[in-house]
C-alpha cells in the first residue's frame, strides 16, 4: 500500500527536521524580521500600519515560504534519497505529497501560528485572529504545494534561488491576492468568507495537481 510509504516518508522528514531544529527557526525569524522592517521604514503609527498590515503580512509570508523551499528537496537530492524514492516502485506522487505535507508542518504551520502575532504588532484587533489564522493556514498550504513544483524543477541547478523565485512568485500571486483580501476583511471586522473560500479552493486545487507536477519534475531531474 503506497499510503504506508507516504506515511513513513512524512515521519522520516519530521524526524530529520527535529534533529536540526536550528534550521526550522530561520524562516520564522525571517518572517518576523520582514514584518519589523515596515514599521521602521514607514512609520510607527498603528493607524497607518493597520491599513498596510494585510499586505505586509502576506508579502512576508510569501518570502518566508520561498526561503524555506530550499530545504524541501535539497538534502534528499544530495544523498540519493530522492533517487531511491523514484526507484522504489511506490507512487512518487504520494511520496512528493508526503514530503510537502511535512514541509508545511515544519514551516507553514509555525508561520500560521506566528501570523496573528505579527498582525497584532501591526495594529490588528484581537477579534481578527481567527480569520487571519484560517487565511494563513489555507494560503500556506497552497504556497507549499506550488513551491514544491518549483523546488523540484530547479533541482540540480546551482545557485537556483533567484530562478526559483522567478518561477514561483507569478504562480503564487492568486494566493497573495485572496490572502491579503481575507486578512484585510478580518482586520476590518467584515465577513471574510468569499476570499477565504477562494483561498481554500486554491489549496484544494494545489493538493490535487501539484504533487503530480512535482513528481514529474523530480523524475526529469533524475534522468
Amino acid at each position: 500500500m503506497s499510503l504506508d510509504a507516504a506515511w513513513l516518508a512524512l515521519l522520516r522528514d519530521l524526524q530529520l527536521a527535529f534533529r536540526k531544529r536550528g534550521q526550522l527557526v530561520q524562516p520564522l525569524a525571517f518572517f518576523a524580521m520582514v514584518t519589523m522592517l515596515f514599521p521602521l521604514a514607514i512609520s510607527p503609527e498603528l493607524s497607518r500600519l493597520r491599513s498596510i498590515a494585510p499586505g505586509v503580512l502576506w508579502v512576508a509570508a510569501l518570502l518566508a515560504s520561498l526561503l524555506a523551499l530550499e530545504f524541501l528537496f535539497r538534502d534528499d537530492a544530495y544523498d540519493g534519497t530522492l533517487e531511491q524514492y523514484a526507484l522504489s516502485g511506490r507512487s512518487l506522487t504520494g511520496l512528493m505529497f508526503a514530503k510537502t505535507v511535512a514541509h508545511w508542518l515544519l514551516t507553514g504551520l509555525p508561520l500560521t501560528l506566528m501570523a496573528p502575532l505579527a498582525a497584532l504588532s501591526l495594529g490588528a484587533p484581537a477579534a481578527s485572529i481567527p480569520g487571519i489564522l484560517a487565511a494563513v493556514a489555507a494560503g500556506t498550504v497552497a504556497l507549499s504545494l506550488i513551491g514544491s513544483i518549483g523546488a523540484a524543477l530547479t533541482l540540480g541547478i546551482k545557485r537556483s534561488g533567484a530562478l526559483l523565485s522567478l518561477l514561483i512568485l507569478p504562480l503564487s500571486l492568486p494566493v497573495l491576492i485572496f490572502g491579503a483580501r481575507a486578512t484585510q476583511l478580518a482586520i476590518n471586522g467584515s465577513p471574510l468568507l468569499p476570499p477565504l473560500e477562494l483561498l481554500a479552493a486554491l489549496a484544494v486545487l494545489a493538493v490535487t495537481l501539484a504533487p503530480l507536477a512535482a513528481a514529474a519534475a523530480v523524475r526529469i531531474s533524475l534522468e
Binding site: 522567478l166 504562480l171 492568486p174
Partner: protein, 245 residues
C-alpha cells in the same frame, strides 16, 4: 487513416526542410496583412469619439496582447506533446516560441503604457489587463530562465515543458484573481476596449492585424525553429549536407 505525416513531423531533417519551404507562405501574407491593416487602422479608420487619435494604438496593442497569450498556449501545447510522445522537434518548437512570445508581451505592455498616457494621464495604471500582461511576462522570463539554468538540453526541454503546462493551468486563475483584485479598488474603467459592436471601418483593420500577427508568429517560429534544429542537431551528419560544409 495513415499516420505517416505525423511520424514524419518527428524527424528533424524533414521538419527543417519543411520549415524552410513554409516560411514564405507565412511571411508574405503576414507582411501584406500587417501593411494593409496598418493603412486601414492608422489612415482610413475614423478617430474614436472618446479616445480621439489615441485609439489607433489599439491596432498594434490588441493583436500583441492576443499573441502573447496564444504563443504561451502554443508553447505549453508543444511542450506537452514533446513530454508525452517524446518528440524532440516539439521541444524545439516550444523553445523557439518563448522569445517570440516574450517580445509580443513586451510590445503589448509598451503600447498599453503609451495608450495609458493620454487616456489615464499616466503611463502605468494598475489595470487588470496590463497587470496580467506583466505577470505573463514574468512567466515567460521564468520559463526562459529555467531553460538556460539547466545545461543538459533534454532535461531543460522536459523540465520547462512541465513548467509551461503548470503555467497554462495557472494563467486563467491568475487572470481572474487579478480582475477580482482590481474590481475591489476601482470601478470598471469608462473606456472599454472590448466593445461589443465595432464599426466595420475599425473592425476590419483590427482583424487584418490579428491575422497578420498570427501569420507573423508562424513565420518567426519557422525561422527560429530552423535555427534551433541546427544548433540541436549540430553533431548529426545530415546537417553537413544541408549547410553544404
Amino acid at each position: 487513416m495513415t499516420w505517416t505525416w505525423f511520424h514524419r513531423l518527428g524527424s528533424p531533417p524533414y521538419v527543417y526542410a519543411l520549415a524552410a519551404r513554409l516560411t514564405p507562405w507565412f511571411a508574405w501574407p503576414a507582411a501584406l496583412l500587417i501593411l494593409g491593416g496598418l493603412w486601414g487602422g492608422l489612415v482610413l479608420a475614423p478617430p474614436d469619439y472618446q479616445q480621439g487619435e489615441g485609439v489607433r494604438i489599439l491596432y498594434v496593442h490588441a493583436p500583441s496582447a492576443w499573441m502573447s497569450l496564444m504563443v504561451y498556449t502554443s508553447m505549453a501545447i508543444a511542450g506537452a506533446v514533446g513530454l508525452i510522445w517524446r518528440i524532440k522537434v516539439a521541444h524545439a518548437v516550444a523553445a523557439s516560441c518563448a522569445p517570440i512570445g516574450a517580445s509580443f508581451t513586451v510590445a503589448a505592455l509598451v503600447t498599453g503604457a503609451l495608450w495609458g498616457k493620454p487616456m489615464w494621464g499616466t503611463y502605468w495604471e494598475w489595470d487588470p489587463r496590463l497587470t496580467s500582461e506583466l505577470i505573463l511576462l514574468f512567466l515567460y522570463l521564468g520559463y526562459m530562465g529555467l531553460r538556460t539554468g539547466i545545461e543538459d538540453t533534454q532535461r531543460a526541454d522536459r523540465a520547462s515543458a512541465v513548467l509551461a503546462v503548470v503555467g497554462l493551468v495557472n494563467v486563467p486563475i491568475i487572470h481572474y484573481s487579478v480582475t477580482w483584485w482590481n474590481s475591489l479598488h476601482q470601478a470598471p474603467s469608462v473606456m472599454r476596449l472590448a466593445k461589443p459592436s465595432m464599426a466595420p471601418s475599425m473592425l476590419i483593420p483590427l482583424l487584418m492585424m490579428l491575422l497578420g500577427f498570427t501569420l507573423l508568429f508562424g513565420a518567426l517560429l519557422l525561422v527560429r525553429l530552423r535555427g534551433e534544429i541546427l544548433s540541436r542537431e549540430r553533431a548529426a551528419s545530415w546537417i553537413r549536407e544541408v549547410v553544404g560544409a
